[in-house]
């Protein structure tokens, strides 16, 4: 199939259909409403369902019900909507269910604004809802990658029986890029008879499957949490994804950046290279599990004097970067929020001044 020009939000909807997901529940919010508009047309064509909930809270429990019965289901929303869903997300993680949540972030906190932001890093990677749980979080940097991540999200959610979140921003949702749908990423859902509440007649079993997140016995709850923890540790071993950029050069400064922000950084890195200045970058594609070793190794490279986390927030991922660099060299933050996207020139300016500020840093060399 040839390329087609799609808006990120439309492409996300189509990717879910191509991944074999026929259940979509959502409540509209800018800047992701086009996913619902697209699927309102598309789902009936493929025999699927789009049901608009009366609120995001309702939507999260529609997802709970659908995936609890063994269906592939997903929803899309934007920052304030994800906050409302957080209770349901915690229940879904607690009940070990494979659901896909897509957050096309806008500026916050509160109602914030409708322009792109990366202010939901903490919410996505550290919880959002209550209790000891993690989402697997993937962050696309473009429409094509968003398509691929959506198609990968369903089997990954099923592999871990854990919710997966795609963390995009308003630009990912609204921009248009030529894309193709990779058929090889389409997977058949696994057999869910072991745990899904999918009807005893159909699976010819005498054992009822109970989908729940309630464990009143403290020993049982402790064991359940340890089981979840083991799952997150397995994610860290098997499903860390990142993209290194200009990492073989003799860089003195290392950028860590994700999503659309990383694309501005790439342009800045290319421009600085033309001016004879080398800058390396690690772009986490999974924010949980985080590419801890890759960042540590890149920061440990001889000559690297400073690491900067560049984000469209006032500094959230920088805390994880600091944790990974483990004191090998100073860690700084640069960014903007509220909908303003730093330009390549602003990034180059920040990189130069941070390098100057840390000129005395011996970096990892010593």
């Amino acid at each position: 199939m040839g390329k087609i020009l799609m808006k990120g939000n439309e492409a996300i909807g189509e990717a879910a259909v191509r991944a074999g997901c026929l259940s979509y529940f959502a409540y509209p919010i800018t800047p992701q409403s086009e996913v619902s508009e697209y699927l309102a047309r598309r789902m009936p064509e493929v025999g699927g369902v789009f049901l608009q909930g009366e609120s995001e809270v309702a939507v999260s429990y529609m997802i709970f019900g659908a995936v609890g019965c063994g269906a592939r289901a997903f929803t899309t929303s934007s920052s304030p909507g994800i906050s409302l869903m957080s209770e349901g997300i915690s229940y879904i993680a607690g009940a070990e269910l494979p659901a896909v949540f897509i957050n096309i972030q806008r500026g916050g906190p509160g109602l914030g604004g409708i322009l792109p932001s990366q202010g939901d890093y903490f919410q996505s990677t550290k919880g959002g809802g209550h209790g000891d749980y993690h989402l697997m979080v993937m962050a696309p940097a473009g429409v094509q990658e968003a398509v691929e991540m959506v198609m990968m999200a369903f089997p990954l959610a099923e592999k871990y029986r854990n919710p997966v979140m795609i963390l995009g921003d308003g630009l990912i949702g609204q921009m248009m890029e030529p894309i193709t749908f990779p058929d090889h990423l389409r997977t058949e859902p696994p057999n869910k008879d072991e745990w899904a509440s999918n009807g005893m007649d159909t699976r010819k079993s005498s054992k009822p499957n109970l989908v729940k997140s309630l464990f009143l016995d403290p020993k049982e709850l402790n064991a359940h949490n340890l089981l979840l923890k083991a799952k997150y540790e397995r994610m860290k071993k098997e499903d860390v994804r990142y993209e290194p950029y200009n990492i073989d050069s003799d860089y003195q400064i290392l950028i860590v950046s994700y999503g659309t922000m990383s694309r501005v950084c790439k342009t800045a890195i290319d421009n600085m290279k033309e001016d004879g200045m080398e800058v390396g970058m690690i772009r986490p594609q999974t924010l949980f599990p985080f590419p801890e070793a890759a960042i540590h190794d890149a920061a440990s490279k001889a000559g690297c004097r400073v690491v900067v986390s560049i984000e469209m927030s006032v500094g959230q991922m920088v805390e994880d970067v600091e944790r990974c660099v483990r004191g090998k060299c100073p860690v700084e933050w640069y960014g903007k929020c509220g909908g303003e996207v730093p330009t390549p020139e602003e990034i180059a300016g920040a990189v130069r001044s941070l390098l100057e500020k840390n000129a005395g840093s011996f970096g990892a060399k010593y």
Partner: protein, 277 residues
């Protein structure tokens, strides 16, 4: 083989270009060019020597992401460079990103009058229509461009302007990119035409071919897109007003292949990591 017939019409020249039907079956329909003289005559010169004549009010409609805004901006810039008095209004109440308002300063600096909501409401998630639009329609400039929102939903706003638009000379052009979902077939384009006409309570008067895959567009895409909109023109009975092509592609394109004008597109709505104007 191209024949050009010229005859006088009511208030100017009427030019019809006929090409061999075997090569461009729809050419007779697609290449009807009107040149009306007079002070208000809107002429925009184009790369292939043919001229896009648009006079008075030009409304751009089409499905989501068909490229209405980029076409409107480039028409405005080209018109202004030809010395026309140009006005452009952002009627997009549907989408929230990549709208005319984002390049308002660039257009204003060229001397184009830009009508957008007040600065403090530029990013409000509200359907704000500037009251200046009604005045602009009442007293249109030599070229007055109205950039509507996508689909029938985006075109609904036009129905509210119906009182102001009646008795005016109005071109309502459907922008078509066959590389977009839902307009990759002639049937799909006709369906959207019908929906837009119903929602706007207005009639589409022409087609604009805007085949592109942004920076991955090839010459073949432009040729294929031209053939597609030519067929659409034949099926719909609507004239093909012009097609578009990115300025970078123009030197490689065989202009003789087209029997309609080509509007050169210099992309203005670029992403933060791309080089701007």
């Amino acid at each position: 083989m191209t024949k050009i017939k010229i005859k006088n019409s009511y208030n100017g020249l009427f030019i019809r270009v006929l090409t061999r039907r075997s090569r461009f079956r729809s050419a007779k329909l697609t290449a009807t060019l009107y040149h009306r003289g007079g002070r208000l005559g809107g002429f925009i010169l184009n790369f292939n020597g043919m001229k896009i004549h648009l006079r008075g009010i030009v409304i751009l409609v089409g499905n989501f992401g068909s490229g209405k805004t980029e076409v409107a901006i480039n028409l405005a810039v080209n018109g202004r460079r030809e010395g026309l008095n140009v006005r452009i209004a952002d009627l997009d109440l549907v989408t929230r990103y990549f709208r005319t308002r984002e390049v308002r300063r660039f257009l204003s600096n060229l001397g184009i009058e830009v009508v957008v909501p007040a600065e403090k409401y530029l990013h409000a998630d509200l359907p704000i229509l500037s009251p200046a639009i009604a005045g602009m329609i009442r007293r249109p400039g030599q070229l007055t461009l109205l950039d509507a929102g996508g689909d029938d939903i985006g075109a609904t706003v036009l129905a509210t302007l119906a009182d102001f638009l009646k008795d005016k000379s109005v071109h309502m052009l459907q922008v078509v990119n066959p590389f977009r979902p839902f307009t990759d077939t002639v049937k799909g384009c006709l369906k959207i035409r019908d929906e837009i006409e119903k929602a706007s309570k207005m009639t589409i008067t022409g087609i604009v071919g805007n085949a592109n895959l942004i920076d991955e567009t090839t010459i073949e895409d432009i040729y294929g897109g031209y053939d597609f909109v030519s067929e659409l023109s034949r099926e719909s009975g609507l004239p093909l007003m012009f097609i578009t092509a990115a300025v970078e592609l123009l030197p490689k394109i065989d202009m003789k292949r087209f029997s309609c004008p080509v509007l050169p597109i210099r992309r203005q709505l670029v992403l933060p990591w791309q080089k701007g104007r």
